[in-house]
Symmetry: C2
Subunit: 221 residues, 2 copies
């Protein structure tokens, strides 16, 4: 019988509806690997900012990247506290009362301080992981970053040490007296579905999309 791990710190302990919490790294990794973008929260001169960005997980590390001119990355690299949140919306939960309406979701919250990746090999591997996070198999198909592009790119590393996941699934839970209401109730599951690829106008004749493109799926889809 496995024991569910507890929260690594008080700060990431799920307080609202703690039965929805998970501190299991496998659950956290699953959410991080399936989602495409994260929302990065940081403070600048007393004002919080929340910025969406691409990322990748490698083991127990989360990488974000961007232009060396990015205000967000230049702020984070100072080692300020950061929160990275990832959310997957799995469906709508329609109850018999307005109050018990909800959503099914899986979310992950990571707290910590980011560090600039200066080792060239780790930086290259992180950038490759970010391409692979978005389109598995794509990194081998394209031109790798050249020294000028590497210099123009900042990569930051955030350890997945202080993190929690929160999950809701299943149908509505109504008040007992509301089950008599003659109102349909249940779930509307939502799925993200890749559409047919659209070729760039300058793709040469005879160059077809690879299996990575044609068979595009996220883990979990």
């Amino acid at each position: 019988m496995s024991t569910e791990p507890g929260p690594p710190t008080d700060r990431v302990q799920v307080r609202r509806l703690p039965k929805r919490a998970s501190y299991d790294p496998a659950v956290l990794h699953g959410i991080l690997d399936e989602a495409l973008v994260c929302h990065v929260g940081f403070d600048l001169e007393g004002q919080p900012y929340v910025i969406p960005t691409i990322y990748a997980r490698v083991g127990d590390t989360l990488y974000v990247h961007g232009s060396a001119a990015s205000r967000m990355l230049r702020t984070l690299r100072e080692g300020v506290p950061v929160c990275v949140t990832v959310t997957l919306v799995d469906g709508l939960v329609l109850a018999r009362s307005a109050f018990h309406h909800s959503m099914n979701y899986r979310s992950a919250v990571v707290l910590g301080r980011a560090v600039e990746v200066s080792d060239p090999r780790e930086k290259e591997a992180a950038l490759r992981a970010i391409v692979e996070h978005v389109v598995p198999g794509r990194a081998a198909e394209v031109r790798a970053p050249n020294p000028k592009e590497m210099a123009a790119t900042l990569v930051l590393r955030l350890p997945l040490e202080e993190a929690s996941a929160k999950i809701r699934s299943g149908g509505p839970l109504d008040d007992e007296e509301d089950y008599g209401i003659r109102c349909w109730a249940g779930q509307i599951p939502l799925r993200t579905v890749p559409q047919a690829p659209i070729a760039d106008g300058r793709v040469p004749d005879g160059v077809a999309p690879s299996g990575a493109v044609l068979g595009y799926r996220r883990p979990g889809w």
Copy 2:
């Protein structure tokens, strides 16, 4: 000829890739109305937190709600600076170089300070708007909040005064010398697709889902 409005404040001016910015309220409203969840950023004891939550827009006001016990809402109601970010991922952009890979997205960032809604009529209307934001037409089908539920719920109002949108669309933009690479390049559009509704086990025989459920679509889908 219409003139595109400029940023309302320096703080919400889009600095990275300013050509992707919009300060047009119609663009902002379109993004807020299509998305399901926002990410709320706030500071608590020097640590930023980013929490996903449901919301609704009514005119130039954004409403968020939750349990009166919610740490996020109890913090925000003190009038601390907040950032609310909404992101729609429209597709993946596959370039010929790793460096020029991107995503198509529409995002909105709202800064300000939230205020608790204490007027009972505004609070009822806001809660109704939140149900309608998630499932248009649903509020009329379900039991409205009773006084106990109203008392257990906090609603906060954030004006859409200091906000900006950022949009990327279209195919990859490669370096001129990379167009000779024999590599497929283009876009993989992504769509969120509602699946067949799943009825709760206690829906009485003969009670079918309404058109609001069977024809579920977000604006813009």
